[in-house]
């Protein structure tokens, strides 16, 4: 390989450069420093000749660096002549002669404080827009629901059953497992700490009330947001990317009615069902732990449970479930429709969907707590 790529010799006012070796991408770093070095230090020369006869390989990288060199000199008013370049490579150099003439618009320099303020503003505006999107999707889903009620033939029954299978039926094993474990953990902690006061029996009260009122529905809602909400967003998002949703619209179908209403409806129905199953599994787990760990016989556990809990507790939990399903469905679907062309945006929106729906589920739970407390339930 040619180690020496460029040699220079100053003869009075004339600078003679001799290039050799491979002027290619692989030597670009070395070449660039050589070219820049020659360009900056040979300031006394009036005219320059570059002999390219020794160059064995020449590609666009080499051609551009040669062009850059001659451009520096010609802009300083010096005459530059290139000799010994084969005819074929001359075409490449000419091609390079035309490029990079118009520098790209430089990125505007921004004040750091202004940037910070702008990002805060943008985030606030984004929050407002999210609320609008949520309301928009809720409204659109309600309108579609009313339309379907007036024209029941338009209801997508098959799609709804298919979604129900995926969202509710296939979720049963994992929901049962998780809530069973959570019930067991709550019972174990309750018994462990209440034992210090000799109040082990009250652990059963805690398990019953906590699970039926709060934990059962929350755990199930969070699980469903992660499991089905994310899949809704990803599904609708990739349909949006591949213009399937536009295709539906042009065929005269309303995407809200065809795709989104069945999905939201399924969540609204599935969440109470899953919550009920989850609560039962958690109470069962709690009972099992109370028996094996706390030494409390199942008879005593059940007797204590019937005393501690009332229908109200159960109602409070179950009443919340459909609303949580609605929130998850609306967030997942509206995020799905926000997906833009890139794969990155699909990922971002899926994350946003899960984070936002879990956040909203917890906020909603808090609001319900205030509401039920004030009506004395």
């Amino acid at each position: 390989m040619g180690d020496v790529l460029l040699t220079s010799e100053l003869k009075g006012e004339r600078l003679e450069l001799a290039a050799s070796g491979s002027w290619t991408a692989a030597h670009a770093r070395e070449l660039e420093s050589l070219v820049d070095g020659v360009a900056s230090h040979a300031t006394s020369a009036k005219n320059v000749s570059i002999d390219m006869a020794g160059v064995r390989e020449f590609d666009t990288f080499g051609a551009w660096l040669l062009e850059r060199l001659t451009r520096t000199w010609s802009s300083a008013g010096r005459e530059t002549k290139i000799v010994g370049l084969p005819k074929h490579d001359r075409g490449l150099l000419e091609e390079m002669h035309g490029v990079n003439r118009k520098p790209p618009r430089p990125a505007a320099q921004e004040n750091r404080i202004v940037t910070a303020l702008a990002s805060v503003g943008r985030a606030s505006a984004g929050f407002g827009r999210d609320l609008m999107l949520f309301a928009d999707m809720l409204g659109a889903a309600c309108v579609a629901a009313v339309r379907v009620v007036t024209r029941p033939r338009d209801f997508r029954f098959t799609s709804t059953v298919n979604q129900f299978d995926r969202v509710a039926w296939q979720a049963v094993p994992i929901i049962l497992l998780i809530t069973f474990l959570i019930g067991g953990i709550i019972a174990q902690q309750g018994i462990f700490h209440f034992r210090k006061f000799g109040a082990e029996l009250y652990a059963v009260d805690m398990v019953g009330i906590l699970i039926l009122r709060e934990i059962g529905v929350l755990i199930v809602a969070i699980m469903v947001a992660g499991r089905s909400g994310s899949s809704y967003t990803a599904e609708l998002g990739s349909m949006k990317m591949r213009e399937e949703i536009d295709a539906l619209r042009t065929m005269g179908f309303d995407p809200i009615e065809v795709l989104i209403l069945p999905r939201i409806l399924v969540l609204v129905v599935a969440l109470p069902v899953l919550t009920f199953l989850g609560c039962m599994a958690a109470l069962y787990g709690g009972g099992l732990v109370a028996w094996l760990y706390g030494g409390m016989s199942p008879d005593i556990y059940i007797a204590r449970l019937t005393e501690a809990i009332s229908l109200t507790h159960f109602q409070v939990g179950m009443l919340k479930a459909p609303f949580m399903g609605l929130v998850i469905g609306i967030v997942a679907c509206s995020e799905g429709l926000q997906v833009k062309g890139s794969a990155e945006s699909l990922g971002l929106k899926t994350t946003a969907s899960v984070v936002k729906s879990i956040f909203l589920v917890i906020v909603l739970d808090g609001l319900f707590a205030i509401f039920f407390a004030s009506i004395g339930m």
């Binding site: 991408a25 075409g91 035309g98 790209p104 062309g341 890139s342 794969a343 990155e344």
Partner: protein, 258 residues
């Protein structure tokens, strides 16, 4: 004048399940030519391209690119070889999370040791060579039209100054004027950069304006190979239909009268 053969495919068999898409196919691509590969939909044009660049496994036969036998090459040799070719995929296959200029810089950043300034200048130069302006450089792929996507894809394929460029239906989905421009661009770039081009195409226009030689695929084999004139004389029924059909005939007449 016999030119060096840069891609040598011998006795290639590629199949999925029970069917062999390519059945003992042999093909040569010579240095510095534009070879157009034509064939009916499903004839295995894209399969041939994807097998040569190593995306699909083959069942039998040998592929020799730039004097390297792909079966015998080790990991390092393969990687070195992959740098010497560029691929333009049918849909462009631009990285959607990177801007246009970052897409073009990606192979340079990974494979070469360049200063940031030179990398920017080179990426812009490549973009200008394929007919884009510096203003397009900071756009994202989702903001580009079909023709621009193909141009950026081509600029990315050319990023490392490859010796061979594989084009998978470069003009599909473009309007006839853009397709014509694109053919001309490929021709110009091929001449300035001294490229060898392996082009899979459906487009009769491309064959007439851009290609030096044509290979027609049918029944899993190359049934005709040679310049266009040879195609017009070929007796194979599919080739006759393709070049002698209404659209093919019109173009052939135009070429003869021109």
């Amino acid at each position: 004048m016999t030119k060096k053969i840069v891609i040598k495919v011998r006795d290639l068999v590629v199949g999925f399940g029970d069917t062999n898409v390519l059945d003992h196919l042999s093909l040569d691509v010579r240095a510095g030519e534009i070879l157009g590969v034509v064939g009916a939909s499903g004839a295995g044009k894209s399969v041939l391209l994807r097998t040569i660049i190593g995306l699909l496994p083959k069942r039998h036969g040998s592929i020799d690119v730039l004097g390297v036998d792909l079966d015998k090459a080790n990991e390092a040799e393969r990687r070195a070889l992959e740098r010497r070719w560029g691929v333009l995929f049918q849909q462009g296959a631009l990285f959607s999370s990177l801007t246009v200029i970052e897409n073009v810089q990606f192979p340079m950043r990974e494979n070469l040791d360049l200063s940031p300034r030179l990398m920017n200048e080179m990426a812009l130069a490549k973009l200008e060579m394929v007919g884009l302006t510096p203003d397009d450089a900071n756009k994202f792929p989702s903001e580009l039209s079909g023709g621009m996507t193909k141009r950026v894809g081509l600029a990315r394929a050319l990023a490392l100054d490859p010796e061979i460029v594989f084009l998978d239906e470069p003009t599909s989905g473009l309007d006839p004027i853009s397709a014509g421009d694109f053919d001309e661009l490929i021709r110009t770039l091929q001449q300035t950069l001294g490229l060898t081009v392996f082009m899979v195409t459906h487009d009769l226009e491309s064959l007439y304006t851009a290609c030096d030689r044509v290979a027609a695929l049918a029944d899993g084999k190359v049934v005709a190979e040679g310049p266009l004139e040879a195609m017009l004389e070929c007796e194979h029924p599919w080739v006759r239909d393709y070049f002698g059909g209404k659209r093919g005939g019109l173009l052939a007449d135009r070429r003869i009268s021109a």
